[in-house]
Symmetry: C2
Subunit: 253 residues, 2 copies
């Protein structure tokens, strides 16, 4: 353990470079500006390309840089604050313009979802896809799992799938009385489908927000929402949509 502690205090070379680069971003560059290419940067700071790349990846992870093929590396704007889990006792989609229904299917969910919902392993549930856009950028993709028992009013005249189907499921869901909702946030990486929706590459870091909506008697729906970790800051609190002062978190450490 003593050895681990000692190793932990030593700064890797790329980490030192990250700090130097970060200060250079503050003093020499403005948001949206394109950085010099990797060869020039490596020469300027006297480091190997591999070290430079590690430092750039780190700053991308921290939301300071954006890297896009064909454009280069640019200085990222401050992260966008997006409110999550703030409206208490509100069903998903209840008068919520932030989320757009995309489509709906009926399929067997992953085993962990079936367990959380208390449905049978092979029991199909409605799976509503929604997407969230903020400041003209895709910020989140959501899968909302709804057991058939939560929407008994769905009729054969309702669209079975597509965007109309999604709206029908959400409409019926809102007839239930919500008693509780609990959320969890964790780090994940974008699956192929999510990556496309979020305009990122597969494997890009995302913040995964899982929310369980419950009535007095049962779990009525489970939402798994995937937020871009590079551009989003998730806000929650008493005020609902109060947003942090831009940059407060980034500069507070």
């Amino acid at each position: 353990m003593g050895t681990t502690q000692l190793e932990a205090v030593q700064e890797p070379k790329y980490w030192h470079l990250r700090t130097v680069l970060s200060e250079a971003l503050d003093s020499e560059f403005s948001v949206g500006e394109i950085l010099p290419n990797e060869r020039d940067l490596a020469a300027r700071f006297g480091v190997a390309r591999a070290t430079l790349r590690q430092a750039l990846e780190q700053l991308e992870l921290e939301g300071r840089l954006q890297r896009r093929r064909g454009v280069g590396t640019t200085v990222a704007p401050p992260r966008v604050g997006v409110a999550v889990g703030t409206r208490r006792h509100a069903w998903p989609g209840a008068a919520d313009a932030a989320w757009q229904p995309v489509d709906s299917t009926r399929a067997t969910p992953p085993p962990a979802v079936a367990e959380a919902l208390g449905t049978g392993r092979d029991e199909p549930v409605h799976t509503v896809r929604r997407s969230r856009v903020s400041q003209d950028q895709p910020v989140a993709a959501e899968l909302l799992y709804v057991p058939a028992s939560s929407v008994p009013g769905l009729t054969t005249s309702d669209a079975p799938s597509g965007e109309a189907g999604a709206r029908a499921v959400l409409r019926e869901l809102r007839r239930l009385t919500l008693a509780r909702q609990e959320s969890a946030v964790e780090l994940g990486s974008a699956r192929t489908e999510e990556a496309r929706e979020l305009d990122r590459l597969p494997g890009a870091p995302v913040l995964v927000v899982t929310t369980r909506y419950a009535t007095e008697s049962a779990t009525a729906a489970l939402s798994v929402a995937t937020y871009r970790a590079d551009t989003c800051r998730l806000t929650f609190g008493d005020a609902g949509d109060v947003e942090f002062h831009e940059g407060a978190a980034a500069g507070a450490r």
Copy 2:
């Protein structure tokens, strides 16, 4: 843009390997088990070492694997759920055994903190360090910034620093009536000092939770808490300490 979209749907090789490895973890390995070494794994899956390493890094980011020098790569246990921002209108440290005061100093905070607190740029504030342990593992390190105006009752007989100083600041802070609290969660990387507290290397991914505590008239304190992203799932919701069913989020996508 069309090109970006097309590129986005192609799966990099390491990403495919990640999926294959993830399935192998489910079916062939148990929690805590040590994986074969990189050379053997690369040979088994017919990939280059670099590709294998990328896939392993990805699975570490997702909390599926843990890598430790001298031990090797092991299958990670499910993430620990830690409740954040759940007790409403509760001051930090109010009868909260989860957080241990470490020390307290009086210093000029980073500019972003001074701005959030509404203090002058050069005005020193109390900086209380606290640490959070769950299941015998360090899970979070916190810096709590408290302006002198929030703790007018601190006397010269109170310890000016150290753990006793931290307790004195927290005790005085609790005399104020809290009106609001707002939090934000975002992805960051561990600074050197935090990394040591969290038993990680500098640059390790962390979830940064910034919380602003306000009275009716002013921001009374600002907390910046850094959670290990590899082992933590942050939970919040109506029930306060209700935790998600283990693995629900990880397996839900």
